[in-house]
Amino acid sequence: MHSSFETIVSAVWKNRKANEWVCNQRGLALDRDGVARDVDRFNAQICAENGWNKFVMIAGGGGVAPDPKPQAIIEQDKAAIAIAARRAKKIWSGIKAINAWLASKAPGSKKAEERAAICAACPKNKKGGFDEWFASPALDAVEGQLKKLKNKRLKTSSDKKINVCQVCLFPLKVLVHVPNEDIQANMVKEAALDMANVPNCWVTREKDE
């Protein structure tokens, strides 16, 4: 059974705290960050001595190699960040499209009722969908938009059935009122590509009209 990096750090830290006098004599770190660096250096040293160089990050540029993070964590973060960036781009292209319309004096789309009915029947229409990383600021922005929509007294008969499109990540209750030109002007290619594969999507269809 293999322990995680954090488990090893916790164990070493506990051991050092229980032997404070010895650690002070030998100049060993007693804080958690210091222990984590020691464990990381130890791992990196073993990897380097055995030629497992792909597990050791050597930085250049400044002439000084900073402490490496474990390669597995770097790869994990890289994957998570790529997903988060893609989702953020989609969410904020929707937020910007809606903000652009709300800031203008343009009326809501005459097609809102028809659009909302399509979304209500679409399997991609679900609750939630905002990544945990930025759920709160995105929700704050959408909440503000819903308030403005209420002031405009715009609604459709499908409002109770529509939530967030899991493909474009747009809040549908507001989006169905936004003129297509505002949507297209702000849409990022990541969203457009994914939406092209959704049958019957009005955003894609209206773009081609």
């Binding site: 804080d31 960050d33 210091g34 660096r37 990381d40 990050m57 930085a59 250049g60 540029g61 400044g62 000084v64 900073p66 402490d67 490496p68 993070k69 770097i74 973060d77 890289k78 998570a80 960040i81 790529a82 988060a84 960036a85 893609r86 953020a88 781009k89 969410i91 904020w92 937020i95 910007k96 903000n99 990383w133 930025f134 759920a135 709160s136 600021p137 995105a138 704050d140 922005a141 503000g144």
Partner: protein, 212 residues
């Protein structure tokens, strides 16, 4: 949105940083951040917190955490990002001071309108694309994903580096980097020299060119 401000308070060269902290506190009180709820976390960097330090920050919504000064201010920021849970973390160096009220509301609004990424008060294209790290902000998870633990010798590379500069890394990861001034929020293609009246915050660099 949960907003945390991290302020670095080094316990080396005490007289200098104590004066800087006093200016931070005074200017914060004179120029309140705005309506947005927030917390301030003071990184006691490289020394022990004493009663007179606590008194220095009295009146501000502060808590203190200690750091061993590894990686200097950036090391403290990385520690804060790992340990403090929030949606947006604003990182402030010791020399930051405020010159106009409502700065936090402006930051929060820009973040809500433009989404996650890296933001800062001063951004540059030379020597390499970078945002000045005397004041920058981003979701803490974004900083946590930066692939290097910044040690003190690596401090310059983190801010200005052509290979490991954090702003470059953020952009290469698929997010954007923005400069925020009282005049607006600007993507990298629109970064420009920040005039005195437009500067969101003042720091040791703006002090040397007479910004007030």
């Amino acid at each position: 949105m949960r907003i945390a401000i991290i302020y670095v308070y080094p316990k080396v060269n005490t007289a200098r940083y104590r004066a800087a902290a006093q200016r931070f506190v005074n200017s914060y009180q004179k120029n309140p951040p705005g309506e947005r709820p927030h917390s301030i976390h003071v990184a006691v960097n490289g020394g022990k917190l004493v009663r007179s330090d606590e008194l220095l920050f009295e009146g501000l919504p502060v808590t203190f955490f200690s750091h061993d000064n590894y990686g200097k201010d950036i090391g403290a920021f990385q520690k804060a990002a790992r340990e403090i849970d929030c949606d947006l973390m604003i990182f402030m160096g010791s020399h930051i001071h405020f010159r106009k009220p409502g700065w936090l509301d402006l930051i929060a609004l820009a973040f809500e309108q433009n989404g996650p990424g890296m933001y800062g008060a001063y951004a540059f294209h030379t020597p390499s694309l970078h945002i000045r790290t005397t004041s920058f902000w981003m979701p803490p998870n974004l900083l946590n994903a930066y692939p290097l633990n910044v040690g003190s010798p690596h401090r310059y590379e983190f801010e200005h580096g052509s290979k490991h500069g954090v702003a470059k890394w953020v952009i290469n990861s698929g997010f954007s980097a923005w400069m925020l001034t009282w005049k607006g929020v600007f993507p990298p293609s629109e970064w420009h020299h920040v005039e005195n009246k437009d500067a969101l915050f003042l720091d040791q660099h703006s002090d040397t060119i007479g910004y007030t």
